[in-house]
Symmetry: C2
Subunit: 146 residues, 2 copies
Amino acid sequence: MKNKYQQLVNNTIPISKSIGWNIQALSSSHIITNNLLAPNINIHNTAFAGSQYACCMATGWTLMKCWADLNEYPAELVAAEGNIRYLKPVTTDFICQASFNEQHQDYKKLLERKSLLKSSSVALEVEIICENIICAIMDIKFVFKI
Amino acid sequence: MKNKYQQLVNNTIPISKSIGWNIQALSSSHIITNNLLAPNINIHNTAFAGSQYACCMATGWTLMKCWADLNEYPAELVAAEGNIRYLKPVTTDFICQASFNEQHQDYKKLLERKSLLKSSSVALEVEIICENIICAIMDIKFVFKI
C-alpha cells in the first residue's frame, strides 16, 4: 500500500520528490515517513522550517487520504489551517509520523459524517522526530469536502 | 539589494529554487515575492499547502534578515512557530508579501533589544495573493538569537 500512495503523492504533488519525502510505513491508522535533510538544508545547516512543514503536510494528508479511501469516503481532502512549533533544530534526516484511530477525538464524528455522505473536518497532529527526539509538532485542520 | 538576498536564499536554502521563489521587491520594511504554481501543484491543480507555507516562510525570513542586516543586529534568525490559514485555493502563480515598520507592534521592542545586543522575538504576518485576492494568511514567530 505504501508504494501506491508514494506514487500518488509523487505524481500529484511533485514537490514531494524535491523534498526527499518517502513513506516508510502506512496503514489507515498510522504513517511514518523518512525525509532527507540534504535537499532541505538552511543557512544554519539544519532543516528549513518551510520544508519541515511541507514534509509534515504531505505525511498528514497521505494518512487521511488513505483512511478515506479504505473507509470509502468519497470526499475531496484539503487543508484549512496548519500550525507548527519548532522545538529543536533538525540536524539529520528526519521522520514524520501521525496516527488516526478510534482514540482520536474526531474519529466518531468523522465516521458519522461519512455515513451521511456529508463534509467534515478533522484535526491531526504530526510529529517530526530526529535522533529519537521530537523536534517539531504540527497541528493540521483538514476538511473532507463532499 | 534584491539580487543579493535572492542569491543568499538560493545558496543557503536550496529548496527555494525548487519552489520557484523569486524576490520582486525588497527593502528593510517590505518584501514582495513571485512564486510559481507549476512546481507547487497538488492533486487539485492548485498550490500545495506545504509549498504555500514554504514560500511564505522564505519571504518572511528574508524580510527580517534584511532588516537585521541593515540595522546591524548581529543575531541568528530562526523560526519558532508558524501558523497559516488557507482561505481560497491558489489557482495561478502567486505573490507573498509582508511589511515591517514603525507601525508594527514589535518594532520598538526589537529596536530596544537590538540596542542592548540581546535576543528578541518578533511576530510577522505574510499574505499570499492570487489574482488580487488574499488566499492565505500566515503568522510567523521569529527569534533573533544572540
